[in-house]
Symmetry: C2
Subunit: 109 residues, 2 copies
């Protein structure tokens, strides 16, 4: 068991996503057996890659606003929204607001 | 893919925990294949059961304050803290503050 603040974890640049950082706040390094928790920050105008992969995302928007898009649509989100992306769904998280977009994103290990 | 606000999900009373509600915001009903996301609210003075089980918790404190205890110790937490409870670790989340304690808790399916 441990408690730590997400702000204590150094942010790392996210791959292929300028203006995006990730903190791995709970991961296999901590002994997590099944899934990892990350905290992302996306600068205004920045976005995660528009990509697909065989695992799901379970996200929770902590602050800021933006939208998630797939091949066909864009769905806006803000504080308190949860976002589920199924395995193999193409997706991108975009910050189209004026403030930093901060969200939790959980992925399987 | 879907987006919904956690407030749209009706809170249910948590088992064996007066003053505690749970919202299953992403679960197997939504097609989640590996893990579920829940949002808990704990009234001031209330607590989750002091118990153990074979699965882990990955939690993120959204608002309020309190502590998590095991057999030997109590560790305080507040907004922005992450809490990891390993499988089989005895644990209890306690709200010893004056405001509602709200946290995300992810568990395997």
């Amino acid at each position: 068991m441990f408690v730590k603040n997400y702000r204590q974890v150094p942010p790392e640049p996210a791959e292929e996503a300028p203006g995006v950082t990730v903190r791995w706040v709970i991961s296999e390094k901590d002994g997590a057996p099944n899934f990892a928790m990350r905290v992302f920050e996306v600068e205004p105008g920045a976005a995660s890659p528009f990509h697909t992969h065989p695992w799901e995302h379970e996200a929770f928007i902590l602050a800021g606003s933006g939208f998630v898009r797939d091949e066909d649509s864009k769905t806006p989100f803000g504080e308190g929204d949860v976002v589920f992306v199924a395995p193999q769904e193409k997706h991108q998280f975009v910050n189209d607001g004026d403030e930093v977009l901060r969200f939790i994103c959980v992925v399987p290990l």
